[in-house]
Every structure is written in C-alpha cells, then in structure tokens.
Subunit: 450 residues, 2 copies
C-alpha cells in the first residue's frame, strides 16, 4: 500500500486498515454503507497528486483508503454539445486525448495531468494555467454523481443549463475534498479545438507593468487571451540552471517576465500572431513592456510553456523553500508582490522570495527560500512556520485566500482554522455535520471541526 | 402594506405582522437577531416580481416582510475589472444604466428589469434571454454578503477569481430564495459594451430544425451568438393580435420561428450583419430554415425583441392558461416539444399548448391554454392540476427540471416534494436545518420540510 500512504509532495505519510478499489458507483455505495455501519473513516483518493495531503490517511491505521483509479472509463461523449461523461478515475491526460480525437478540447490543464483524475480535480476545484478564459473545474462541470456519507447515490448527472431546484448540490461537492461525499462520475464541458495559438514571452519592469499589460490585453484581445503568467528573472534563472534543454526566450534580462497565450477559435478571426504583433507594438510604444518575442513554431511554444511548468521543479533543486498558493483580488496582486516580498526578506535575513504564476487570476505561488546552510527541518519548524503565518496574515489583510487552487486538505487546516472568521467557519461546520454526522467522510480534511 | 402582500402574478396573497425596510446590512442583521430571539419568521422581499410567490408571506399574519428596496445604492464600480458592488435593492434597470455610463454592460436581462432587484435576482438565480453566452446570475456574481439566520454577517465580498477555502457558500446563497440567509449586497461582473449587434428573425419548419440551426450557429458563430429563442406561429399570432404596434417580421407564415442575436465585441471582428447574412445563406441552402430577415435598424431590433418579450402578456389576453418553466438537456428539448404537446392536446380535448423560450438553454415556457368556455377556477383546480402534474412527470422522464429559472417558492413546493428523489430532498433539508434550525428564514419556500 506504500504509494497510497504518502502524499505527492512527500510531506505526509499515514497508515491505513485497507485499500479498496471499487469498479463502479454501486460498489462505492456498498463500501460507504459498510463504513457507516462500522463507523470507519474513508479517505477517497484519485491520482494522489494533490498538494495539501487531502487524500492521505491519518496515522491511526484505522482509516480505509478508497481509490477511484479503477473507475477510469469515459462513459459517453455527446459531440454535438461537447459533453463528456467521465468516471471519477479518468486521468486528465486521457480526457484531453479523447476530446482531441473528436475535434474538441478540455481546456483545464496543469502539471500533474498525467496522474490527476477527474474525481480529484472536481473534488479540489482544480485550476491551472488556462483559468483566465475557461475558469476552474467549477465552471466546467455540467453534471455530477456522488455517493453521500449514508451510502445513498446522488444523481446530478443531467446536464441542465438551467435548474433552480433548491440549493446547488453540485457546487457544494465541487471543492468539497471528499468530506461530504465521494464524486463517482462527472459530465464535463469541452470546447471546440483551437485553430491556432500564439505563445508570447515578454520582459517587463515590474508586476505593476505586468498588471497594466494584462488590462491592456484583456481590453484588446478579450476572450482570445487564454493565459497570462508572471515570473521573476530569479525563477527563469533557476529553470535554465536546473532543467536541461531550456534556454531564455529573450536575449535581454528583465526584472519580470510574462508568458501569454493568444488563441484563434475559428478561421475567420485574425491570426493570433498578427494580433499579438500588433498589440505588442503598441505596448512597446507605450513603454508598458521592454521586449517581447513570439514563439515561431509549436515546438517553441511548448518550450516557452515548459519553462513556466518547470519552475516548481527548478525551485526544488535550488534548495528548501516554503510554498504558498495564495490569491488576492486581481487588482491588488502586483501591490502584494511589490510590498510584501521585501518585508519578508528583511525580517528573515537570508531568505529569498519568488512569486510566480497566474497573475490574470490574482493567484500566485509565493515561495520563500530558506537561507543558505540552515538546518532545513529546524528552519521549517521555526522560522518557516512563522513566515507562513505572516504571509497568510498579509493575504487576509488584502481580503485574499490562503488557498487559491490547491485546497485545504490537512496541510492548511490549522492555519485555515486560525484565520477564518467565525461566521464562515460555523457555516462550514454546519454543512459538514449535516451531511456527515458520523464523521466518516475524509475526517480531518478541509473543515476544522475542533 | 397591500402591494407587498400579493405576488406579482396575483395568485397568492398573505398577511404580515409588519413590514420592515432597513437602510443597511447592520440593520438587517439587527432585525434578524430580533426575529431569532422572538422566533418570528422573516420573508425577504426585493422587487416583488418573482414568478413563484417566493417573497409572499403566508396567511398567518405572524410573519414579517423584510423589504430590501431602500438598500438601492451602487457602492463601488471598479472599471478596470468591470466589477460593480450593488446593495440588494438596486433595480436591474439601474444597474444596466450605471454600467452603460461606464462603457460596460451587465448582460443579464429579463422582462421585469424595471422592478427586479439584484438581491432577488441573486436569490432566485435569475436567467433571462442572454443566458446562452453569459450564463445565469450564478455565473455573474463575483462576491456576496448576506445576513445568516442567527444574525451574523457573512462577508464573501472579496472578488477572488480562485478561492478554495471550503464549501462554496456563495453558490449556496445564490438560488437559496432567502431560506438560509438574506443577501444584502453582491459584487457582479460586467462585460464590455457591444460594438454592434444583429437581431435576426427566422422561419423554420420544426423545433428539430431549430435545434439543428442552434448547433450550426454555435459551431460557426461561437461566443458571438448571444440569444436563441423559439416560438410557434400561434404565439406570434397572439402577440400581433393583442399587443399594439407589433407586426410579423416575415411576410411568410411558418410553423416555428427563431429569434437570434449575434453580437460584435470589438471593431476588428466581422460585422454581425455580415456574419448573419453569410450563415443564413448557408442555412437556407441546406434547407435548415425557410426564410429569414435581419433587423435593419436598432428600432427594428427592439421591435423583434418586443415580440418575444410580449408573449406572456399576449397569451394572458388569449385566455386562461397554465404556465410551466421547465428545462431538459438542450439536445432533448425539441423532442420534448414535438412528442409531448400532441399527447396533452389529445388527453385533455380543447386545450392548446404553446411552447416558447430559450431553446439554447434547454429551457422553455410551456403553456397550456384552457379549453374555451370552461369555468376557469374549477378547471385550474381539476384538469389544470392534473395537466401540470403530467407535464412535470414527463419532464422528469427526460431528466429535466420543473423549475428552470423561476425557482420553487411556494407555488411549486408541493410538486417539487412529490417529484424529488429522497437523496436530493434529504440533502436539501439537512442544509436548511443546519443553517436555520429555528425555521425563521422564509419558511415554507424552496425546501419541502414536511
């Protein structure tokens, strides 16, 4: 069972009484009914690629892991309406390929696509790099099926565009981290395949300029802007140093870099390279950007994206660092980066901050590298803990979220409890207790009950 | 208090112990705390233009109406990001005008826009005629504030694009009909103002052809297709007969008609009239449509939409009829109309069905006219009741919803209880009881507790 007992980041290891791997929804329901009778806690698990140990059992050895991986079938594909009915264990990459084979595209994508499952993506309301236009998983789920904590099967699979029959249970299960039910299948919305795309690398002076570029691009390119990522020179350097085959897209150095993707949905639209060239010329003239280059081939486009997707790995190779997946209102993100980074580096000498990610969503991954030559375990437990608390305090001051796209799981539950106002917290507890009065459904995750 | 005691359709009249009209969120909270102490039920009310008597008190005279109409201020307008913070009592028409003054557009619109309030629209997850592209109210709310049944204030106003901190309370309050909290303000998302639009009237042979036209237009025009409404000749005749100043857009008669709106977001796109002409020529050649005409001016575009918006009024003038706001999966809607209408007309001789509305959303308004010369009250209570039950049974057989966009309120609660599977029903009850254990928040609406 070892691979199922440790989370993807290797920070949490639990024990389990058993690993069960049902073949269909009926079997999931039977297991849950058994667990309810025996007051046994269930930990649902998909691809085990989550970032907050939400699918890792506790250390008691009494919990059961319920793996959805055998339920890996695409059950139906309605090509007219682009709707795909997936079992929970379908791997994201396989959905991408199935959609592509039908001339469609499932627009949500992220680094772990080779292992992340639909059920896990739904249960964590996953995000990724294409959220700007198409939203998170929440916007892409048209129907849902789940086994509730009493073993009953909730059938919300009819893909109705309008349905005002009571509280929206679909949206409650999405992002619910398996704490009020186990998602067994979902109908997801695909979009038409792209005609063309243009990936652009831009050098800018500051996160503020990056934000102004974002507003300019959104005004001019509207829905054609699908991605808008930001990274500092420091992150680019780390990638080039540690990830073989990567090179800087621009010959010039810049304090900050932006990676943009412009797309073409149908042949009658302006080619994205033409659109990009035109807009970038205006941006250069307005001194909004310093330099830019367009990927000249699909291979180069992939190479640009590879830089972005390798930052986490490169940063790991640079040495120990704290990682924070935070969001603030889009308009406030550049200010957050500019004002908060130097405070941290000053208060905790030797640390270095690296802020990168989805500027267009107000969501960045805010890393803080440990000073050189510290005892890592000790630093994590002392200064590391203090820095994380400090960052979450500051996020709260910006009316932001300490979990933008990774969820709460067990990794963030203590800080979540500390920083959440009593009204919200008591509402979350009320929902959890209403659905799962026995507390058998992924206990210890998402909702701080204590 | 009379105008507050009867619902918009005039079907329900209640009594009330008092009408309170707070000026701000704090006052709403004080009233709710008072009500909780005194176990007094509160009925929140916005523009009182709902279709299911969700804001009408019961007959006991013990309930309090809490009107949000005084809270009618637009509190903030972030033009960069198009976000508008509205108090609950802001009237939709006023939001439209405020957005327009800033070069923006709030894309949700419906017949009652002169009285419907933001709080009511949020609480009923309102739809309307532009849902195809921009979604219902659910998709347009970026932040929410509400007073919960214990008088605490839930602050979900930060407009975060990504926020995975526990169950999504925003989506629970949207469409909650004031049964678990009173929405006091909301941040809504506007979109850029249109450059141009083209409104088209099309004659088709059948709902099936209309559906095929929808798929064709969606494939070719993508996001530029903003509206797609269907109506039978019978409804057009009723409008021309009863609504002064209206005339048929086409000289030819057709069994069914489609009203489409194509839009242009930015000057670089193809003009919508050019796009429409091109696509309609292809549709005529493919014998998908029989005839079509483009509105040649904004005045004519308004005239086309006036026909659509007057159907409900014209049908009322035609005589008594049952109205059903139903949805089924988009792909099944034409089959529903074609197969179910003759069954009803045959089983209940003398009745006539009129199905019209938002084909693109799988949502039609399905009217059944009473036979001539019946005693209306008696017919409503006997055959009328049986027909409504029959229709909802059939909707269920198509995996549809007995409430697409109007909600449940008190008008549909009995049928909702009869037709909802126990798993869904018990989840709804659990949520209601978890938030409102005293049962003071708009009792008797939305959730069948008995």
């Amino acid at each position: 069972m070892a691979p199922w007992l440790t989370d993807w980041r290797g920070r949490y290891t639990g024990r389990a009484a058993a690993l069960v791997s049902p073949a269909n929804t009926r079997e999931v329901a039977e297991i849950v009914r058994w667990a309810a009778r025996h007051r046994t806690a269930i930990v649902p698990q998909g691809g085990n690629s989550g970032m907050v140990a939400g699918a890792t059992p506790d250390g008691s050895g009494n919990q059961i892991i319920l793996s959805l991986r055998r339920m890996d079938k695409i059950l139906a594909f309605d090509t007219d309406n682009g709707l795909v009915h997936c079992q929970a264990g379908v791997i994201l990459q396989n959905l991408h390929e199935a959609a592509s084979a039908k001339g469609r595209r499932f627009p949500l994508t992220l680094g772990g696509k080779g292992s992340a499952t639909i059920g896990g993506l739904v249960s964590t309301n996953a995000g990724g790099t294409q959220v700007l236009r198409h939203g998170t998983m929440r916007q892409l789920v048209a129907g849902i099926e789940a086994v509730l904590p009493d073993g009953s099967i909730y059938d919300g699979l009819s893909p109705l565009k309008k349905d005002n029959r009571g509280y929206d249970l679909k949206h409650l299960l999405i992002g619910g981290e398996g704490t009020i039910g186990i998602v067994t299948s979902a109908i997801v919305q695909t979009v038409p395949a792209l005609v063309d795309r243009c990936v652009v690398w831009v050098g800018v002076n500051s996160p503020d300029d990056a934000y102004r570029l974002l507003l300019f691009m959104q005004t001019q390119a509207r829905e054609k802007l699908e991605g808008f990522e930001i990274l500092p020179q420091r992150a680019l350097n780390a990638v080039i140093k540690h990830i073989s085959g990567t090179r800087a897209p621009l010959e010039t150095e810049h304090r900050w870099h932006v990676l943009m993707e412009l797309v073409q949905d149908d042949p009658s639209q302006t080619a994205p390279a033409t659109l990009a060239t035109n807009l970038l010329e205006q941006a250069i003239e307005a001194a909004l950007i310093q330099n830019a280059t367009l990927a000249s081939s699909e291979a180069q486009a992939e190479a640009f994206w590879k830089i972005r997707d390798s930052i986490a790995e490169a940063e790991r190779a640079e040495g120990p660092a704290l990682q924070h997946d935070i969001s603030v209102p889009v308009a406030a993100m550049s200010r957050f980066i500019i004002e908060e980074s130097p405070v941290i580096e000053r208060e905790w000498p030797g640390t270095k901050t690296v802020a990168f990610g989805h500027l267009g969503d107000g969501n960045i991954h805010f890393h803080v590298k440990a000073p050189p030559d510290v005892d890592t375990a000790h630093w994590y437990a002392t200064d590391g803990k203090a820095i994380t608390s400090h960052i979450y305090d500051r996020v709260l001051a910006y009316a932001g979220s300490l979990s933008a796209e990774h969820g709460i799981g067990q990794a963030k539950i203590a800080e979540f409890a500390r920083l959440t106002d009593p009204t919200r917290l008591s509402a979350l507890k009320a929902i959890k207790n209403a659905f799962d009065p026995l507390g058998i459904m992924n206990p210890g995750k998402l909702v701080p009950l204590a």
